[in-house]
Subunit: 409 residues, 2 copies
């Protein structure tokens, strides 16, 4: 007996059959005597269709109204899921974000959960209802609807699990779990039995697309073990949790991110404060910068290169070009045909040979490295986009990740 | 300067062009210095599509979850309408039913408004925002979403107009106003310039389909003049208000209702309490009975006939058949190929010849009358469904309603 939070993504509630499959899974936990909370996303393409509708009226609608619009997608899902559970003969109630007490800040379209008032949730669970909660949405202090941005439903599920002190938080998706690499690129990639929060964070940020990093951060903060598994089969999935150091893998996985562009500010005067100037301009525009590389200052100028996501490229070039005279640089150049390939492993911090092995794999495959960035548990390289898949396979082979058994050891 | 409430029905917000047309109308009132509240319904077929989605999952979903589902239709409309007004450069904010403070009882799918907490509405209007409110929906004391049933958005508009003490409440629809008969049946029907609440109530109840009777009742209660007009042109429309007796028309219009069935309970024992027994059985099932006719008791039995809406026919037959032995009747018969044709006029109460004139028109047209029912301002007859249009035209001609000038005199 405990509290179980299950989250079903858009593909897992896309049609009648899938909704019933998810409903039955929820019921099977309920039948074990557990209190069950089901968090659902909008069905399949609903969100895209709603965005389409909005853009037809106004290409640049206010984010507040966009949130009013988009939150209907999850509201439709909770009603349908509740109706499916009713049909199967179990007591159920649906709650929107505001009904579930999910309080957020006022950053429309990208709000953060501030707190969850679990009073109503607890009351419904105590009545032995299965509670279906709309993911991705909340309410701010003005009683206005907010949405949580990309990966928002995962965040809802983890936040609810934390607030309810749940025993389990299961994230149902369309893949079997977390793999050592994208199985579409590396067919013999291994599924990890478990992975640490930090590794998952690096993989999420790096474009592994299984879990959004905000939900992983939250799970880490409240020490909520997450189970990532498929809603289409009964395979075991991957547990994301705090992993003991003895279990730490040298390399847990290889990730690839093509949603990236490289920008170079050329001929910056070689005096202090220039990097600060450039990156504070970008920070003001809310542009996230990833890998940064500064050429060694020779003579009077230096070059500063960095990467941004492709969606931020135009805005980045605009703001820098407009401020070129203030920065005192000669030129701005960019490349959007690049990819970032990364290896992640909690064990690499104590194993200095890992980077060399990765570079060797790339050298053997004839792939040129443009930029390098490292952290304690991650090494990323920027390469030509056309080499991305080849690089992922070469690295995966080099570290023999296909030999990781399902125990993740 | 005043407060104007405008309501746009589903066809009036069905696509981009119509939304912008409605937005411009709202703005034109705003430009005159008025505070403007816009109430919108769900777009075109949205509600039907949502019902379809629900039925696919569960043919008999709980009404609570159905309301969660259906209320998304109006929520989509408010966001899109707000985006259109934003696009045109005016300050606007959308409010769902609960955000607009619309408190209802807990009759899911057919809730009644108990009160409106106008605090937020007033605040937004004071900020000079155009306020777009979701029609058809509210919130009950459990913080659950309710919907108001058929004609719910009209009711929302009138209730808001009453709560805000609005100067004007305009109901925009796909017809030009209230006619002396359905123009599809009687091509030369006249548009009424004005009509009393009571006449409108009879016409609404009788199937004129312009305004729902709950909204008219509410308008009458709070003495809110309603303007019914088309969102597709600038024609003047019809004003529904308290009409002075000197202005009262003998006959304001002819209405026809085909959504009707006649049920007869045959061979009921001729003792007191039988009618009570039958109609309390139906009342318990929430079935509305319209015209009632009881045969004169001869010998030991009598027959009791009445009409119900077609959608209630099956339930009516079920409950009566099941209780046939308790009622002590011989048989239940029914006919669903009937129609009710009615004339409405506030002036007829003082003109005893009106009924005779109506029956003469039907006699001249060779139409047989099956049942008759009268009230102070209405005479209804039940006839064969196939004669319905012929009857409406014959009566319209007889009373020369096509000669009513646009002053409604």
């Amino acid at each position: 007996m405990g509290i179980v939070v299950q989250k079903y993504g858009g593909t897992s509630v896309a049609d009648k059959e899938r909704i019933f499959r998810a409903a039955k899974r929820a019921i099977s936990e309920y039948e074990k005597g557990n209190k069950v909370v089901v968090v659902v996303s909008a069905q399949g393409d609903t969100t895209d269709e709603l965005i389409e509708k909005a853009k037809e009226i106004n290409e640049n609608p206010s984010k507040r109204e966009m949130d009013v619009l988009l939150s209907t997608g999850e509201q439709i899902s909770i009603a349908l899921m509740a109706m499916a559970i009713e049909k199967l003969g179990y007591p159920v109630i649906s709650l929107t974000g505001w009904q579930a007490g999910i309080k957020t800040d006022s950053h429309y379209s990208n709000a953060r959960i501030i707190e969850i008032d679990t009073e109503r949730l607890q009351r419904e669970l105590d009545k032995r209802n299965i509670v279906v909660v709309a993911g991705f949405q909340g309410i701010n202090k003005y009683d206005d609807i907010t949405t949580l941005g990309r990966g928002g439903s995962d965040t809802t599920a983890v936040a609810l699990a934390a607030a309810l002190k749940a025993d389990k938080c299961e994230i149902y998706t369309d893949v079997d779990g977390v793999y050592t690499a994208d199985p579409r690129i590396v067919p013999n990639a291994s599924k990890l039995k478990e992975i640490s929060y930090d590794e998952m964070l690096e993989l999420a940020t790096l474009g592994a697309k299984v879990l959004h990093n905000r939900s992983v951060e939250l799970a880490k903060k409240y020490n909520i073990p997450l189970v990532v598994r498929s809603s289409f089969n009964d395979n075991e999935g991957t547990i994301v949790k705090e992993v003991n150091s003895v279990e730490k893998l040298l390399v847990s996985g290889v990730a690839c991110d093509k949603d990236i562009a490289r920008v170079a500010v050329i001929g910056v005067e070689n005096i202090p404060g220039k990097a600060f100037q450039i990156f504070s301009l970008l920070a003001k525009e809310n542009i996230n910068v990833d890998i940064i590389l500064q050429s060694i200052g020779r003579e009077k100028t230096k070059d500063i290169s960095f990467t941004v996501s492709k969606s931020n490229l135009k805005q980045t070039l605009d703001v820098l070009t407009k401020n070129l005279h203030i920065i005192g640089a000669k030129d701005i150049t960019y490349a959007d045909n690049v990819a970032k390939v990364s290896i992640v492993g909690a064990g690499m911090v104590n194993n200095p040979g890992v980077a060399a092995m990765m570079f060797e794999a790339l050298y053997d495959a004839g792939i040129n490295i443009e930029m390098i960035s490292t952290s304690e548990i991650k090494i990323s390289v920027l390469i030509d986009e056309k080499d991305a898949e080849k690089a992922v396979r070469a690295i995966h082979d080099k570290f023999k990740l296909h030999l990781l058994n399902s125990n993740g050891k």
